[in-house]
Chain length 354, copies 2
């Protein structure tokens, strides 16, 4: 039986083998992924991101446990955990964390954990993560938790792969201007204040609430009828192809369903708040399905993945067509400050004699 | 007088104007940058990176101050600070920090501060930072401090723009497995333990020392003559074009000068340890000049910048040549799981009928 059929039948060893192939970027891995792709689209993808020290890993472990123990279910959902560490570009920094987790969650065949350190470029890690998630999806995992270490752009990009994105904060970090990022809040579907038994939890929650109001001003626009709503009405008129003006439309008529990210306190080490968090995730999935946003998010994800792949293919093809001597001579001209990098790039692409 | 001449003559207003053009990616900005590029190559570029909460901004402020107060100098070096925040992709998160800094350092015409939030793609922020640094360099700034917020791959990439990279840690963060990254240590030329008046400073320093030994095992290889050194000798033989074997070569003969990253404790808020840090930076620059590594680092930086520019140009050119309809139809085929993203990308590039 071939690898694809084995994976579709739930063979974990076959899955492991393909995950390694995907991570190493081998042609077999890519061919298997192509064959698996039509079977994806069933899993719910949950991204978990936040600064180091917020207790993300414990939270992810507890979430996995909670899904497996889902009350009263004789057939609880299967859970895959993908832990991505983009800030570990050189060494296998994820390995240690991996071992600690395995000790914590091993023994349950319904949970599968994969830790990935970044190898090579940033585009590389995002693409590899996408591939690993697709393999888990095709293999029939119902829930896929994608955890990213850190809180930079790379983590944001990876967390965006998900249907539901959790942003984790912890008390004591919110006082630092740099700790809570409006940008990261904007990708949050659910905010988690972990380590909620620590002092300062109210301050953290208040700071988050204030930033949420900046990031999601929509509800306030809909509540008031006067002033500043012009853009909303115009957008509505454009999408519906109907001419409406502020005066002709009541606020109720233009109110689309909007998801306001809720804030959930947890103490992951004690399991506190985790069941509520699970309920919020389920509510968010129901919202995504009801509004059609699930499909939109999938489409956006595929567009991003396609663009990254295209960029890579175009660069490789182009690089193969140009001689090493010409390339190195151009770098030399930059080094000696005779051409700016931009001038050099255009001269290479346009084939100008330089 | 044109903008380029004004900048070369030290006109700060002209410089500000060009920095904004560069950040906005305008054609004028790029043309000015091309014209300024031949005048770059004088400044020493110092990258400062590390996790949030380590006090990087205070340290950068103190370093700027220390350079300006450099003892006994009637003509202290001029300092530019570029604060990059790649984890703030949506909103101008850097603005608040900017204001706090201006209050702290303003009034000294020898210091110029520029805060940048990430706009658009990651490639974008790295490229924009490179451009801003080149403008400062051409404008005659002697020292350029490039500070990145966060500790992800993006920050690592940006810190690599520098000649000397400082990685900042602080006590109390080192206990978390995820806080100290071997990968980030590997780009460090100097390690700074800031907030060194806090408890736990010995633990942090010990953890850093242990990780340094993993990241820089070279000295140990040279000290011992037996075992495990085959690769080093082979590499030497290849680059020199001389056949050498382990037996024919004494360790002394193959010992190149190696920089082992020193660890410096600081209390940035009090200015403690900052002068020593400045001396270490000067020693590192002297080492880079002595060994020719300064030139190598510049070359590597330009190669990276060239590659990023090429990727972008190739993608834009290609995208212009393909119809929107065809592109959207392909995305649709992925959405409906008929083609994998990889199959779709190749079919688009190779123009296969799909």
């Amino acid at each position: 039986m071939d690898l694809v059929s084995q994976i579709l039948e739930g063979n974990r060893l076959a899955l492991s083998r393909v995950l390694t192939q995907i991570e190493n970027g081998t042609p077999q891995g890519q061919a298997t992924l192509d064959a698996l792709f039509p079977f994806t689209g069933q899993a719910h993808l949950i991204g978990v991101t936040g600064a180091p020290g917020t207790g993300k890993s414990s939270l992810v472990n507890q979430l996995a446990r909670a899904y497996r123990a889902a009350n009263g279910q004789s057939d609880p959902p299967s859970v895959a955990v993908v832990a991505v560490d983009p800030s570990s570009p050189f060494t296998g920094g994820a390995i240690l964390g991996d071992r600690i987790r395995m000790r914590d969650l091993s023994g349950d065949p319904g949970i599968f954990i994969r830790s990935m350190a970044s190898r090579g470029t940033l585009g590389g890690i995002a693409q590899t993560t996408a591939g690993v998630v697709q393999a888990f999806d095709a293999a029939g995992f119902n829930i896929i938790l994608i955890e990213t270490v850190g809180a930079g752009q790379a983590e944001v990009d990876i967390a965006r792969l998900a249907h539901t994105t959790l942003v984790v904060e912890a008390p004591g970090m919110g006082d630092d201007i740099q700790a809570i990022k409006a940008g990261i809040l904007e990708i949050a579907d659910i905010l988690v204040v972990n380590k909620a038994d620590r002092p300062g939890v109210e301050n953290t929650e208040r700071a988050l609430r204030n930033m949420l109001q900046l990031a999601h001003p929509a509800p306030r626009i809909f509540q008031h009828h006067g002033g500043q709503t012009g853009e909303v009405y115009a957008a509505r008129a454009e999408t519906d192809g109907v001419e409406t003006t502020k005066e002709e439309t009541t606020p109720a008529a233009v109110t689309a369903e909007i998801w306001i990210p809720p804030i959930q306190r947890t103490v992951a080490t004690e399991g506190e708040g985790v069941e509520n968090l699970l309920k919020l995730i389920e509510q968010h999935r129901a919202y995504l399905l009801r509004t059609g946003e699930l499909f939109q998010r999938d489409r956006l994800r595929f567009e991003t993945e396609l663009e990254q792949l295209l960029q890579r293919i175009l660069m490789i093809r182009w690089r193969e067509a140009i001689s090493d001597d010409q390339y190195q001579a151009t770098v030399e001209l930059i080094s000696s400050r005779k051409l700016s990098p931009r001038q050099a790039a255009f001269s290479l692409v346009d084939g100008d004699s330089i």
